[in-house]
Subunit: 705 residues, 2 copies
């Protein structure tokens, strides 16, 4: 090093990661990477028009995962299906990177793993230099490594950037002071340089070979890096100091930015350059050229004794991003505080659900569940737990129907209410309070409460109330029509009649749940097997099976059982744990059912069917589940639709289809007409043949509201 | 009726029912009557010192159900066990009544039933008059009937009073104006009357026969009603108008109160009285006598042609209480608005539980459940549901331990939290938020939250944290000691180790619950069968059975499994319905277990045991319940305690007993010492013999917090 030489210092990149990148990373982790920690190509960019006083930044944004170029496979896609190409902002250059997103914090913190990855990238760059690949595409000289651990549960992201720069064995030095480009070129040369450089940037990745014309003093020749040998065939003879230009992210008065390092290394090992003029292109104050500087540098000789670089001796490299104290330490960012809490809640809930898909259940269709609209008839012990559990599964549309008020005994068993809902002259409407509570738990849910008393067979309608009852009927019918799954969760048998027949008429999935003292029933009503004729094979696996409803085992029409009940019959006399068990099963049955190809028409399975192909990935699809707390067990039962059922049989549907509310009104005023319409003979009805043991369950129980 | 005669009008009673009576009725209904609507003797009172402008009131208070006299059976009780006797307030008389508390509003409103009961009481009074019983005890003349329907669920009470007065066939008339007692008696007679009457009231039920002395004009003779014939042997000869005195609840200037009616009827039919002086004793302005009035009345003849009353011809009677408009209609009172809402909530919750006892489960020990103190380790998906379900069963002491904060993904699955608990820099402490939530649901619960991180084997304790860890250990040990049932509901296996061994050491009921993706485990840890030697038979039904703990199937010591978990292992990846099912079962298992004579030492039962005598009235008592959502079923499993268990075996208890925290600290720093202390040979441990299929469950699951 002669006296007027100084060691050249390069200004490192600082990483600048936009919040949008972390959101995108979280999404990718959830939807694409899942448990993979394989390398993922990403794209950053850096500006060569950095404002004064700002560090050179390597920037990552939401679009980091978009490819920087399409390969042939992608081009075969329809134009609309092709991924968007990554585009750097104006006056910026792309830097290609590799993302390693680790599954655990421990993996992330594993320093030997980090070293290995950094070395690997160094090797890649070195190989690209030796092979000439980097000369063809100089962006290969500025690659980076990003190691991350995305704690998406808590919205914390840990990361480390590495931008390897191959190190010369001895330092690079500058020869003389750095000078403005305006003093390195004369006026004509400057104009010539200016007019050429701008149009070449994108095709050269911002690296140019520059040569002052030997024929005149007023033009400058510009070329791509792979044209070096054409520009400077005889570097070694020192006849002329070669010139190279690069787009410089740094704006310090006499120091270049990081991308120059590997470029210099390339020139040293590929072209044996030892002395060089470097134009640091800095687009300042509206001009790409006027504020650029020129450095004259001495490069050490990086070749083996044989005069060529040894591809097996990997040069040392530096370039881990350091913190403010100069230490190489992971950075972290917490997005929780910067995010809209409502968005945070939504993302967090989605996350928990998506986690199920990663390892355990890739076929889980969360969008299907999310978009399923659920109508809950009854907002009591069952309704509250069912609603909560649906929300846990990500269901977003939940409508609760109830005509009752929250009373003091409710909150300890009805999990959407609290003490304040009861205080006052009368408690709040259950339907309203329940839907408000759902929103207070998860604001993104579309919950609504409808205060409505379901018209019931045998509950006579006084003349002056007929219009009002008709309006109620129509409102209920519309609610059933507007939802996909109807849950029957009321506290009486007869309140289930109208929703049962409406669910059948409108071909909805109907899940029925009822509680006894220490027994419960969870069942799914059959849907009309309307498509049976379409399939000549008549195979139940494709056409479905027509299963019974809640009333199919009875030959007694539902009637007013509420009028003369003692206190223990009015109230919910049921072991408190029962509602939790029944509600959980009811919701899980629904979720499983949604995953069956023919959903509500799916044949009834028992536990022997779990390994057959008809089953959903989630579980068997029983028709009825009868739970017995005395034995802590559950029996799957099964029954076909009864052709004379007083709720779901064809003759009744015919009546409803043709007469609408008039038929319903007749039933409300005199439920015995159901027996007539259903075609049950008088004799059969009075003899009361074969009352199923279901009756035991129903007899001893007031169900639950 | 001669010209100076007027029809005598009697002032009816108004009922005055203190709120305390309704509370008492509600309690009696819940605890004693249950579904019975049989007649119940009750006691009211009326004052003969009624303030001016006030109606005569028949009053019922909290003590109405106390007997007015003890029968011989009661007297055989220890003095302390004898029921308190009903006592009327000063200047009041007892009126005996019959309460009919109906089960349904329809029964209550049944007018023909009401008429029948009123007639029955009329018959009784008539029979008492004819038989002379009413003469012996004149309180029999003033009996009443109270029909009620107690809608204790809504704190509404409906009631009707009937106070039957036998009606003469023609009206009673007065002869001349009513006069003050001071003008009826001379001064001496007044003094004589005054001095005698006070002391006699209680023994005469306020009814006296009075006679002016025939020997002098200055004394008055007083007698009981059964002395009539002694006083007036020859009423019929009209030589003298007899005098009767009664304590009069009325204070109208010239009308007597209701009790006089049946007294007059008695005198007419038993003694053929047709003309009579009636002293209406009114204790006013500090004097029993000075403000009393005297009426002279003509009584119709109420005898058959044979001159005696026909016991088979029941006289007509009147006396249903009327409303302000003079109509006989039920009254109602709603206590909800007058009650302290906190009390209302408490009563309502108690009510719902007591209803279970009425018809279905008389042996349910609600006090036992209520007084059971529950410690919940973990306030997450399981902890929240278990706490809610315990509260539903009436458990009043619930302590939740957790070291976590509420995060955005929690509320949709962890049922004690809502969105607001997550907002802010960090969410609320789960333990605190959960206990606050419990109180907001039911203010009477004694809920508390302890923010504490359970020390775990293999989670090394740094030197400077030893004191703090010791304090944590001691706090946890005290918590276990202070509670009766310990629920293990945390999200890792190793966090269950310390509570497991502490629960064993302190001989607590330990209920362990863990979730997999679609499987769950609910089990009860064995308690030391310390009393096995006391019973020489060694019968498991009385000595109990030593069941395994969560770790008994493992021969691997719990160690740090948290450090290197991927996101799906950290989070709760579990089907949402599972927690509801497992929590419900865990609580129901506890409630059943509490009802077994030897509770935690109860042998493990399977479903074949339900009909054997050892079972509780609630259910079988399995050791472990393994639930499989894929089949919607639950298997009861069973295993004895493992003598080399790394958590509950005797060698480890010996270490804990002798070394306390030092032993625990050793385990925290190096969990492998557990294998050494437990006496598992190296070979056994490394060969990994017969790992139970439990491992499958545990392997695939991060449990749940």
């Amino acid at each position: 090093m002669s006296n007027n030489e100084e060691i050249l210092q390069f200004k490192e990149f600082s990483s600048f990661v936009n919040i949008s990148f972390w959101h995108e990373l979280a999404q990718m982790k959830l939807d694409v990477f899942k448990l993979s920690d394989k390398e993922v190509p990403i794209n950053a960019y850096y500006s060569y028009s950095q404002a004064a006083q700002l560090d050179p930044y390597l920037c990552l944004e939401y679009n980091a995962f978009q490819p920087s170029s399409l390969d042939i496979k992608d081009l075969s896609l329809d134009k609309e299906q092709r991924p968007l190409l990554f585009k750097a902002p104006p006056k910026s250059l792309i830097s290609n990177g590799i993302l390693y997103n680790f599954n655990t914090k421990e993996d992330f913190k594993n320093t030997s793993k980090a070293k290995k990855l950094f070395e690997d990238l160094t090797k890649t760059i070195y190989a690209d230099i030796l092979s000439g690949a980097a000369e063809e595409d100089p962006s290969k000289l500025c690659q980076f490594l990003l190691m991350t651990f995305a704690d998406i549960k808590n919205h914390n992201f840990y990361y480390m950037f590495g931008i390897p720069a191959l190190s010369f064995s001895t330092p690079i030095t500058t020869v003389g002071a750095c000078q403005p480009l305006g003093s390195f070129f004369n006026e004509n040369q400057l104009q010539s340089f200016k007019s050429g450089v701008q149009s070449l940037i994108s095709s050269t990745s911002g690296v140019f070979v520059v040569k002052k014309s030997t024929s005149d003093q007023s033009t400058v020749e510009l070329g791509k890096l792979n044209e070096w040998n054409k520009f400077y065939p005889n570097v070694a003879d020192d006849a002329e100091v070669p010139i190279v230009a690069f787009c410089d992210p740094c704006n310090l008065p006499s120091n270049p930015g990081w991308p120059l390092r590997n470029l210099l290394y390339l020139l040293a090992v590929r072209h044996k350059v030892s002395k060089l003029n470097v134009i640091c292109l800095r687009d300042q104050k509206g001009s790409l050229v006027d504020n650029s500087i020129v450095l004259t540098v001495h490069l050490p000789t990086e070749t083996s004794t044989a005069g060529v670089a040894d591809p097996n001796i990997i040069p040392k490299s530096v370039g881990w991003e350091k913190d403010a104290n100069g230490k190489i330490l992971p950075k972290s960012v917490s997005l929780a505080s910067t995010m809209d809490p409502l968005k945070l809640a939504e993302q967090s809930v989605d996350l928990n659900l998506k986690l199920m898909r990663w390892r355990i259940l890739p076929s889980l269709d969360l969008e299907l569940i999310k978009s399923t609209k659920c109508l809950l008839l009854g907002a009591g012990t069952l309704g509250c737990n069912v609603a909560r559990c649906l929300m846990g599964w990500g269901v977003r549309t939940i409508t609760l129907v109830d005509s009752g008020k929250v009373s003091y005994s409710n909150p300890v068993r009805q999990t959407l209410f609290n003490f304040q809902d009861c205080v006052g002259a009368k408690g709040k409407d259950k339907a309203t309070a329940a839907s408000e509570s759902l929103k207070s738990i998860f604001p993104a849910v579309d919950a609504s409460g409808v205060v409505l008393s379901i018209p019931m067979p045998g509950h006579t309608v006084a003349e002056h109330l007929v219009d009002q009852t008709k309006a109620t009927y129509e409102q209920l019918r519309q609610l059933v029509a507007d939802h996909d799954v109807i849950f029957l969760l009321t506290d009486s048998r007869e309140s289930r009649w109208l929703p049962t027949i409406l669910g059948r008429q409108l071909n909805k999935i109907v899940i029925n749940t009822a509680l006894g003292f220490d027994t419960f029933l969870v069942s799914r009503h059959g849907q009309n097997v309307a498509h049976a004729n379409e399939n000549s094979s008549g195979d139940a696996k494709t056409t479905g099976s027509d299963l019974g409803c809640y009333f199919c085992n009875d030959i007694i029409a539902p009637t007013d059982t509420l009028k003369d009940r003692t206190l223990d019959q009015q109230c919910t006399v049921t072991r408190p744990g029962l509602s939790y068990m029944a509600s959980g099963m009811a919701v899980e049955l629904m979720v499983s059912l949604l995953h069956h190809p023919i959903q509500g028409r799916a044949p009834a399975e028992t536990s022997t069917d779990i390994h057959s192909g008809s089953s959903t990935p989630l579980s068997i699809l029983p028709h009825q589940l009868r739970g017995f707390l005395s034995h802590f067990n559950t029996l799957p039962l099964f029954g076909h639709a009864f052709k004379n059922c007083t709720a779901c049989s064809q003759p009744l549907l015919d009546q409803l289809n043709s007469r609408g509310f008039d038929f319903v009104l007749e039933v409300l005023n005199d439920s015995s007409c159901l027996i007539k319409y259903a075609g049950i003979s008088e004799q059969l009805a009075t003899e009361g043949v074969s009352i199923d043991w279901d009756e035991d369950l129903l007899e001893s129980s007031s169900d639950d509201e």
